[in-house]
């Protein structure tokens, strides 16, 4: 394997959203949506961030693009720290970093025809000479599987899958290096979702794109990714190569998450780890390991000590997990508590 080139490096990223309240509208507290995460994305690969609602995966994507200003941390793209750039410089930077959103109905202006939607991106980035733009738009539409003549139609004339293709064409129009796909296929029916996933893969090959793929769907993630980051309540709990992570998950949360997904095979043996309760509030996240309130392996140590991401011998290819008891759980020395009696009794989210 050739030496991998770092394209995007996130270090110590924090994103706190203030909660205004009280008599004078002061900041009374913070939602710690993303709390000190670090990872690297190499050129040409697909890295996915997975997790449930509120884990901070979309916030991470937005913070990288500075759609929301990150509270703390360094985001370097090709060695340049994006958080240091002025707004104007950042805007120019977005030529290289594009994003595709979840809802193809909301992310395209309904009053613009498709060619205008795509041209606006090129116009802002001054990407293609004006006289060549029409040709470029038509080429792009064909690249994403639409027809030339559809350039003059309005978004409402397209189906959801086609609109997502328009979103992809818009992102591609400025020739980006990295595309952040924020739940880009989640709103689509499976037969259409498969079409769009295949398209994304083809485009990656053709244009040498790098994807940061944000999704809650582990089937999609397994299909498209090279590496996977699992987040829980604003922290990375596990990160690793796709094969290592799916075949050999090490964090109890990853294990529970994988076991919770229904398998489309009636003969599949269910070996489900049912988690108790709900995700706690990110306003006052639990001390120590954030997962300890739901973890069947949690001890007193987990309630106080924050586990760091680390690797042990059995984990391959940069696979890391943030758990105090990886070895002990693996060897069977440390057993899960049996919650079966109270398994369905959860603790409601107290806000």
């Amino acid at each position: 394997m050739t030496a991998k080139k770092e394209l995007l490096k996130v270090e110590g990223l924090k994103q706190y959203f203030p909660i205004k309240g009280g008599f004078f509208g002061r900041t009374v507290n913070h939602v710690k949506a993303v709390d000190d995460i670090s990872f690297t994305v190499y050129e040409g690969e697909t890295v996915s961030i997975v997790g449930e609602s509120g884990c901070g995966k979309s916030t991470t994507g937005r913070a990288i693009l500075r759609l929301d200003e990150p509270t703390e941390g360094v985001v370097s793209f090709e060695g340049k720290d994006l958080t240091e750039l002025s707004r104007k410089e950042m805007r120019a930077m977005r030529k290289d970093l594009q994003i595709i959103f979840q809802d193809p109905y909301a992310s395209i202006n309904p009053r613009q025809i498709v060619s205008a939607v795509i041209e606006e991106a090129m116009d802002i980035q001054n990407a293609v000479p004006k006289k060549d733009r029409r040709k470029r738009i038509e080429d792009l539409l064909q690249t994403v599987g639409l027809q030339k003549f559809q350039a003059d139609r309005y978004p409402h004339e397209f189906s959801g899958g086609q609109r997502q293709r328009i979103g992809i064409a818009r992102a591609l129009s400025v020739d980006p290096k990295l595309i952040i796909c924020d739940e880009a296929v989640s709103a689509l029916d499976v037969s259409i979702q498969a079409q769009v996933l295949n398209l994304l893969e083809e485009l990656q090959e053709e244009f040498g794109l790098t994807y940061l793929f944000i999704s809650h769907d582990l089937g999609v993630v397994r299909h498209i990714s090279d590496r996977i980051i699992v987040m829980y309540l604003g922290k990375i709990v596990e990160i690793g190569d796709k094969h290592s992570l799916f075949d050999n998950p090490k964090h109890p949360y990853t294990k529970a998450l994988l076991s919770a997904i229904p398998v489309p095979d009636p003969d599949h043996k269910k070996d489900r780890i049912t988690l108790r309760g709900d995700v706690p509030s990110p306003i006052n996240p639990p001390e120590g390991c954030r997962f300890h309130t739901r973890c069947p392996f949690a001890t007193d140590k987990c309630k106080t000590d924050v586990p760091e991401l680390r690797t042990v011998d059995i984990m391959k290819d940069g696979h890391q997990a943030a758990c105090h008891y990886i070895e002990e759980i693996e060897s069977g020395e440390h057993k899960a508590k049996d919650y079966s009696a109270e398994a369905i009794v959860g603790k409601g989210q107290e806000v």
Partner: protein, 344 residues
């Protein structure tokens, strides 16, 4: 099959919406049956008519929707002939329904307890105090901790999973014989989904209920259902027991759906999507509804609509390939679409 074994039998149900642009046949000749105590999954993509089928059963369609024909037999009686008053007796008492969005299905200005008590008081004629005790009992049944406290809380004080539990408590408060669950876990995270599916299954066994599970998630179907009806463009295209459907799917659409699905449990090469998109309801194909997207479609498929035909095991299929009239390759293998597309 004699009707006493089936709690629900639907025959040739047709439901249309009369819009400015003309009639939209949302449900067009749907038939299936649900044996007592079992779970049937209705699967299909957006616009396949699965939710409209469910709303038709309870006669909850809003204008401009209208049931145009067919039969819905519940415990042997055709409830389509019932008056609104009779239907009101059925709803909640005999058939209950839970919806996808627990956030929007609950009334934000009433406490959870008041909302459970409403249906108990209407249907069972209990007084306030008795109804409240029953409400607490129901909350306990669906696994809500400290129900005595929760009963006086408002929906906004509960998480999504808790709200769906409350919805289930309301639905089950009058001991219905049948529960219709319309995408009950779609809005929930997977770890919470697992809890809710376990709960529905557990209560089904405890209360001996029949369940109709409407979903687009084939994983949920495989895990919770005994029988499956696959819907496409307002029609059932395949009906069989769950094992047959997943092990030996016969309709090209079912095969296509399974091939499109990215799996988390196994390694896959490229996904094989179904080409094209769902036909517009204003402009349905003349023949088989799936023909424009089907890799096997022939002249016959494009010209005339196949019937839903049952075999000796009551597995049903709506596809010309399995009929004597089939005019395509007699050796056709629906699991081999790639080769076929390349040739065609």
């Amino acid at each position: 099959m004699n009707s006493s074994e089936n709690i629900l039998e639907i025959r040739e149900l047709r439901t249309s919406f009369f819009t400015d642009e003309g009639e939209v046949k949302a449900v067009d000749g749907v038939s299936f049956e649900l044996p007592r105590g079992k779970t049937i999954g209705i699967v299909g993509e957006s616009g396949s008519g699965k939710s409209i089928t469910a709303l038709s059963i309870l006669n909850l369609l809003a204008k401009p929707g209208e049931i145009k024909g067919g039969e819905i037999r519940f415990k042997g009686e055709n409830i389509l002939t019932y008056s609104e008053k009779q239907m009101r007796e059925i709803r909640g008492n005999d058939i209950s329904m839970i919806f996808q969005e627990p956030m929007t299905s609950l009334n934000p200005v009433y406490t959870v307890g008041q909302q459970i008590m409403e249906s108990i008081r209407i249907h069972q004629g209990l007084n306030k105090r008795e109804a409240k005790l029953k409400a607490i009992e129901m909350l306990k049944l669906v696994g809500i901790p400290s129900p005595e406290k929760r009963v006086d809380q408002y929906p906004f004080e509960l998480s999504g999973g808790m709200r769906q539990r409350v919805m289930i408590a309301i639905a089950l408060s009058c001991n219905p014989d049948m529960l219709i669950a319309d995408e009950p876990t779609t809005a929930l995270d997977v770890t919470i989904q697992a809890q809710i599916l376990d709960l529905i299954r557990e209560l089904q066994n405890k209360l001996n209920m029949s369940v109709m599970m409407i979903t687009h998630d084939l994983g949920v179907v495989a895990e919770t259902c005994d029988y499956v009806a696959v819907m496409y463009a307002g029609q059932v295209v395949e009906f069989s027991d769950v094992r047959t459907l997943f092990k030996n799917p016969r309709h090209p659409y079912t095969v296509g759906l399974l091939n499109s699905l990215p799996r988390h449990d196994i390694e896959q090469e490229k996904l094989k999507p179904i080409n094209g998109t769902v036909p517009s309801p204003h402009n349905m194909p003349k023949g088989c509804r799936f023909a424009p997207r089907c890799p096997f479609a022939t002249e016959l498929c494009r010209e005339s609509l196949p019937e839903l035909v049952a075999d000796e095991n009551n597995n049903q299929i709506r596809c010309w390939i399995y009929s004597d009239e089939w005019d395509g390759d007699p050796e056709v293998n629906v699991h081999d679409s790639e080769e076929r597309t390349a040739k065609g």
